[in-house]
Symmetry: C2
């Protein structure tokens, strides 16, 4: 072996990096559990200061901080750690945009279990996911999810309220499907004092939506439609129907049924607004939208990150005119359609 042949040896480091990626997940989760980002933001920038503040071992804090520096969530200079811009905004508990609470939902032992069986799920999702898809009725996970997602959805909810022109102040009857935390309907009600919101979701989740509506001062115009979308009467005469983070759970046939049922509940000229992860036709860009299909593969029997062409087809097959897409900053897009 010559020096030349040694330098040309293939290097498996990248393969190892991918295989060990679970450490990125668990390191970030541990740092949030220890409230390490807040500690560093508050000036506990050395290993010993952060370890004392977080009531943890110096070796553990040092290795964790170095690892998060390599990941790109911390900086390190002369042995002092600082927050990356992303960490300062999203991971410091004192930041209004703190999203650390999402961790308990996104990184659960049962989620890791189900992803450890991913090969089986790819072979036979019915068998592999039996009894453990996200779609089990009244899965208590959805209350936890709704609570954790609320801060993250503030911006998309404001964006949708602006896109649909809520500030016009027209008399609107709005159906908020899979309302969850309720933020989408609430954002419209806040901008349009003549909007009445009808929030549909499982009852335990709606309790949270109602709480949020009251806090936002729109409780009196926020009405609850408890139950499953598929089983219950939607009411009728809606000027606007919000279908947020919902269609990705189902196959296209089911989505066409959903859209037909919604269409039957629209007032003349009524509009539908969907919010979802919508990759380009190549399905690999933009990455933050395209990777969402993996979450659906792991958790649902037939869910997906659909392209705009696929959504447009589903809407047209369900009796709508051509749709429009408005990408939002971040990974999600808004799709607008109208009964034809």
């Amino acid at each position: 072996m010559t020096a030349q042949s040694a330098a040309n040896q293939p290097n498996p480091s990248f393969v190892f990096q991918v295989l060990n990626s679970y450490q990125r997940t668990t390191a970030l989760r541990a740092a949030l559990q220890l409230d390490l980002f807040t500690a560093i933001a508050e000036g506990h920038n050395s290993v010993s200061a952060a370890a004392t503040h977080c009531k943890a071992t110096e070796r553990g804090i040092r290795i964790l901080c170095d690892f998060l520096t390599i990941v790109g969530l911390l900086t390190k200079q002369d042995g002092q750690y600082g927050l990356s811009p992303d960490a300062a905004i999203f991971l410091n508990r004192r930041s209004p945009a703190y999203i650390g609470s999402i961790t308990d939902f996104l990184v659960r032992a049962d989620t890791l279990d189900v992803f450890m069986d991913l090969a089986d799920t790819i072979r036979d999702p019915q068998k592999s996911l039996s009894g453990r898809t996200a779609m089990e009725p009244e899965n208590p996970m959805w209350v936890e999810f709704a609570r954790a997602m609320a801060p993250l959805m503030v911006f998309p909810a404001e964006a949708i309220a602006e896109i649909v022109g809520a500030q016009s102040g027209e008399n609107w009857k709005v159906l908020d499907i899979a309302a969850g935390h309720g933020m989408f309907g609430i954002a419209i009600a806040k901008r349009n004092p003549n909007a009445e919101i009808f929030a549909l979701d499982w009852a335990p989740v709606l309790a949270l939506a109602k709480e949020n509506a009251k806090s936002a001062g729109v409780g009196a115009r926020h009405h609850l439609l408890p139950g499953s979308f598929f089983d219950r009467d939607l009411g009728a005469g809606y000027n606007l129907v919000l279908i947020t983070n919902f269609l990705h759970h189902f196959d296209p046939e089911t989505n066409e049924k959903i859209l037909k049922k919604v269409r039957a509940a629209l007032a003349p000229g009524g509009r539908v607004v969907a919010l979802d992860f919508v990759p380009n036709d190549d399905r690999v860009t933009p990455p933050a939208a395209a990777v969402f299909s993996m979450t659906m593969l792991g958790h649902t029997l037939a869910g997906d990150a659909y392209t705009f062409a696929e959504y447009d087809r589903m809407f047209r097959n369900a009796g709508y005119s051509s749709s429009e897409i408005r990408p939002l900053p971040g990974p999600m897009s808004v799709i607008l359609s109208q009964a034809s």
Copy 2:
């Protein structure tokens, strides 16, 4: 909200990417279990062809292939997938450098469990890791590990044999500590027909080393020292002692004891060669070496990725002269020392 303020909204995509990194681990693991890389290498490049060949669903294979394209292990062009250079070398089962077998060792349910408790381990490793560190005596994991690591260690083993000048053909008595698959001692025995190798490891692991020594045609010069390094007599008069992938498991004090025990077994002028992950003094570069400390944090009470300055100090404290470091291509380095 104006278009300008929308465009300036902070984007949590990177934080989500880190939190969801477990999907990179499990997607690669699933692809290896399905032998997807081999299928693509053999020309099953479309979703339908790969799904048929891997006996899996088209939706599952499509989502998996798109995800691995985003990760960088596949390419996608006009709906046809190909292997990245790394995947072609390391993940195609027909490649001589295939390392897919390492997956069952690196990505185990019990490893994920222990990393889900990382915050507890950072607070109190004794309590958190009680009964489940990698260092339990006779842990059967080590046989599996040795078997999986063998192909990966062929190149470092050849590099060490060259660095120590095995081709000189001198009469050597070589001690191979934590021999595992035995490849380090075997590489020296192959180059030096006058080298006698004494491989030390737990008995079940040594059975594999012996098998490999016989296959390599050096079985008659490959001797076994079964048992724990800490408990057994090492013998004496060694011209060369190999300490590969071993010192990272322990604290510096323990390593100094190890090195003293080794020193007492050296022949006059005998040398010690250690192979390990050795980050720079900043502990965050090079990343592939520096991240190894996280694996030690998760699995051991006091292990670490030590810097060269730390190793040099341990060797000197144990009665050796100054050490030398030789970084190998890839994440590992060789450290050479000699009794002073």
